[in-house]
């Protein structure tokens, strides 16, 4: 190597050395160290610079064995998974935002007229809200003012203004956002003030109707849930027959489809129908299996073909069924709940509302996140000639989306999905620490917050590291699963 090259090499190393040093000191070394720790009995109370007589001992897999017996680990893992149910909504929101922001709003073109129509709808909605009880409070004025400013800003500055506004939560400090939402969720905060009168009117209305009439809503949602279930089986069957999916690709999605039916059997307020969805699911499943045994696929399919798409579809349908169940339960119990008047939720102070409250906040923050930027970049890479061809063929807006946009964005979606799953499993620490301290009754404690409390409340660093590596094993397994089947979905 000549002196010029050597000089260039050292210059290059000099440039990257701060980053490399930072990575080594703050990431790689602690990572390796924590892995070693997970197999030791290191306890701050026993092993530190003031207790040289105690030596740290290797305990093999003892910490991991304890992990599986730890009731709190399982509970907090459940919490973490619950929070992750918000990921699909966040992704959908980011995609929606990106598609909106991919348009140019500058000047008085057609789109701006559409925006003005949307703003008129917004104003009408506010009028309706005011009519049902939302007074002309500062909140109303604030919403209208902000909405108006955004529209004017968009018309003048184009989509850049909107992109900046949407991206705002991403570069605002997390703690500031959490404190803001904590105030929003206060029992006398803007959300509950806005809900108070509409809920009051709703309870008056419900109290004026026969409970059985109100509960018709329960039966309608119950029927809708059954329809979704049946339709899902129909889709699976058709896709299998058309060889869009392989036989192996049917197993897991079918199981996912049946989970809400099983859940309904546990929570149904009407004893006589509690087993109906599960029975229908089992009957449909048996019918499908018989059909698959008797008949053959119309074409040949490759092993695991269509598996990724089926899983995504199954998750979407599963969430849809859960929404039906949730709403059905609320409507069924509405007459009883309304007897003494409906009150706005206690949000962060209520065991059952704390998780959804945090999920709503995360959804708000997630829509305008890096995911939106990734989608925006992805959208700019979609070849325009595909849309031109679709226009010539007379494709509708939905067809343009389902046949061009969505498939073209599949690699981006896959990347976002993997990153969101990883982030979701590791997340929740800052939220719990700032907003709820993990409560009420541990309902918002996630695994990352549990690692902190175990490590620093009890001093058992060995065990805390084992929880950390247990979490890593989960993240790793799910990521492998995603790569295995998700990449097929992208390629399909």
């Amino acid at each position: 190597m000549n002196s010029k090259k050597t000089k260039q090499l050292f210059t290059g190393i000099g440039f990257i050395s701060p980053n490399i040093c930072g990575f080594l000191v703050f990431t790689l070394v602690p990572l390796v160290f924590s892995m070693i720790l997970a197999f030791t009995n290191w306890d701050l109370k026993l092993h530190n610079m003031f207790k040289p007589e105690n030596t740290i001992q290797f305990v093999g897999f003892a910490n991991f064995v304890r992990l599986f017996k730890d009731e709190y680990f399982l509970m907090y893992f459940g919490n973490t998974l619950f929070f992750m149910m918000g990921i699909p909504f966040g992704i959908a929101g980011s995609l929606g935002a990106a598609m909106l922001l991919n348009n140019n709003f500058r000047g008085l073109n057609n789109r701006v007229w559409k925006m003005l129509i949307v703003s008129a709808i917004l104003a009408a909605s506010l009028a309706v809200l005011m009519a049902v009880g939302l007074k002309a409070t500062a909140l109303t004025i604030l919403i209208t003012t902000v909405g108006g400013l955004m529209l004017i800003g968009g018309a003048v500055g184009g989509s850049t203004v909107y992109r900046t506004l949407f991206f705002l939560p991403c570069f605002t400090s997390g703690v500031a956002i959490f404190l803001l939402w904590k105030k929003m969720y206060s029992p006398v905060g803007p959300i509950n003030i806005a809900l108070a009168e509409p809920l009051n009117n709703l309870s008056k209305t419900v109290n004026g109707i026969e409970p059985s009439t109100v509960q018709i809503g329960f039966w309608l949602l119950f029927a809708l849930m059954l329809l979704i279930l049946a339709w899902r089986f129909k889709v699976i069957n058709h896709k299998w027959r058309d060889a869009e999916i392989d036989s192996m690709s049917v197993i897991l999605p079918t199981l996912f489809t049946c989970i809400p039916a099983y859940f309904f059997s546990k929570v149904s307020p009407v004893e006589s129908v509690k087993w109906v969805p599960l029975t229908i699911a089992v009957v449909l499943l048996i019918a499908c299996i018989i059909n698959w045994i008797i008949k053959k696929q119309d074409f040949d399919s490759t092993p695991w073909k269509g598996h990724g798409g089926m899983i995504v579809g199954a998750l979407v349908f599963m969430v849809a069924q859960f929404i039906c169940i949730g709403l059905a339960l609320v409507i069924y119990n509405l007459p009883e709940m309304a007897t003494n008047g409906l009150e706005a939720p206690q949000w962060l102070a209520d065991y059952y509302w704390a998780k959804p409250a945090i999920m709503i906040m995360s959804l708000w923050a997630g829509i305008g996140s890096n995911n939106m930027l990734l989608y925006l970049a992805g959208l700019s890479n979609v070849p325009p000639e595909l849309y031109e061809a679709a226009d010539i063929d007379g494709a509708s807006g939905f067809q343009r989306f389902s046949s061009i946009t969505w498939p073209q964005l599949a690699p981006v979606t896959f990347f976002i999905f993997i990153m969101s799953i990883m982030g979701g499993l590791q997340g929740g620490f800052a939220t719990a620490r700032t907003m709820t301290q993990g409560g009420p009754a541990g309902s918002t404690t996630t695994l990352s917050y549990y690692i902190y409390t175990e490590g620093f409340n009890t001093g058992r660093l060995g065990y805390a590291s084992a929880i950390g590596w247990g979490l890593f094993a989960l993240v790793f397994s799910i990521t492998i699963f995603n790569w295995k089947f998700g990449s097929k979905y992208v390629n399909d």
Binding site: T11, G14, F15, M49, F50, Y351, N457, T458
Partner: protein
Amino acid sequence: MKYIFLGALLILVIASIFTKSLQPDAKSKVPVLYWSTDPNPARTTQIEVFQEWLKTTYSNEVNFVMKVDTVNSDNSKVVIQGVSGVGSDIIGHCGGPNMRFRQAVGILEPITQMAEKMGFGLDKTFKVLTPDLSIDGEQYAFPLNVTAPQLWVNVDVFKKLGMDAPPSRWSIEEFEKIGKKLVEKANTANVTPDKRVFLVSNLSPSILTRSKGVDEFNETLTACQADNPTYIEVLELIYKWTEIDRILPNESDRQAFSTEAGYGGQTYQMFSTGNYAMLSSGRYALIQLREFNDGKGMNLKVVEFPNGGFPNTTIGTRAAAVYKGGKNRDLAYYFMQYLASPEYNATIIADADALPPNPEAMKTEKFLRPKDHPNEWGCHEAFANAANNIAIPSAFSPFVLDNTVNLERTRAEGEFKAKRATSKEAAEKMQRRINSEIQIFLKENPQLMPEYEKRLEIQEKINQYKKDGKKIPTEWIYNPFYKKYYQEKGIIE
């Protein structure tokens, strides 16, 4: 580019050196010591008086500067900084649990010898605080102040509603009756959450359970016994008062009061505005209460917690300890000596930062009837009486750390409040979890096993004696609550 890079590096180095030069230790010609403590406004005066005291007592023989560090007083920060060798010279901690955890970690310097030599031994403070300040006969801390919480009464709230303030000593039944009457009179049907009035800010289940003759630990501190009818009954009672009678605020009610300003947070503000007719706190509440009403103070009274037959309260201390890894430990002892001095006790009396470390100081006129605060006369005496007569320290089992016990207690009570468990299930879970933590702790500290086994044998004997109705020898009882309770009931020899 490389010159920009090198320039940036150079600027960063210079900025770092400049920042370092601004640190008090770098600028000062004498050693600078740090005291990690809570952000209590009274600390400033306490430090100023200390510097004066040091000058007066030691003229120029001993010279150093003490600085208050309020950002590193969080338990995890203290422990992590401590085991990393960079802890504050004086570590302030709140109560026995913190002291015991930090002692278990090994970051506290044993001070028995120096305390004896310099006059800040255990004999200079309340005898009942021994478990909060020492372990196995070795002293590790000395009180900054002492707290025996009572109920502060905002007399005007009762007056406004045409009611008499509660009596100094009252039963659980009286408490409930007065509470129901007050909230009924004060709150209209459509009262908004931020305007609602409650009888009292909060109540400790532990004090109520003790008032019915039961503690969560057994006599020898070898096992948790939360799964008993009394504790379960108290959990149910507090739930009823919170969610049904609405005498006490729940978490949502607290969140509805959006104010958080000032020392002590929202609770004191709510007490001053009348949202809480009573406040569960120590004498230190006066630091903030004196600020209200344009500095004129409030119309106050102090009463005991309601009792189920055995009036009691806890007693605890915010104490100071010397960091074992400190470079200036020899100087830190002077600060500990100052805490036992009349000057420091006078400071505590004047600024109302709880009770002074020395019980003798509570007999002075300045303590009992402060000239500038006639509205408080009678209140100080009530706190002194509580500390001297009915206060019992917490029961610290040597076989489990108290912060672990607190964590399990919070989890179990939280599950009950959220209706995730019945009171019986919550109590049973708390007992099971704490007893399993005791076994883990013994496994980690096998040297404690002989003592544990010895106490188990004693516990069996105690159980037999209780069954037979025989008097129990005093030396068998390790739990301070049972020692006092049995003494008053004549159950021990």
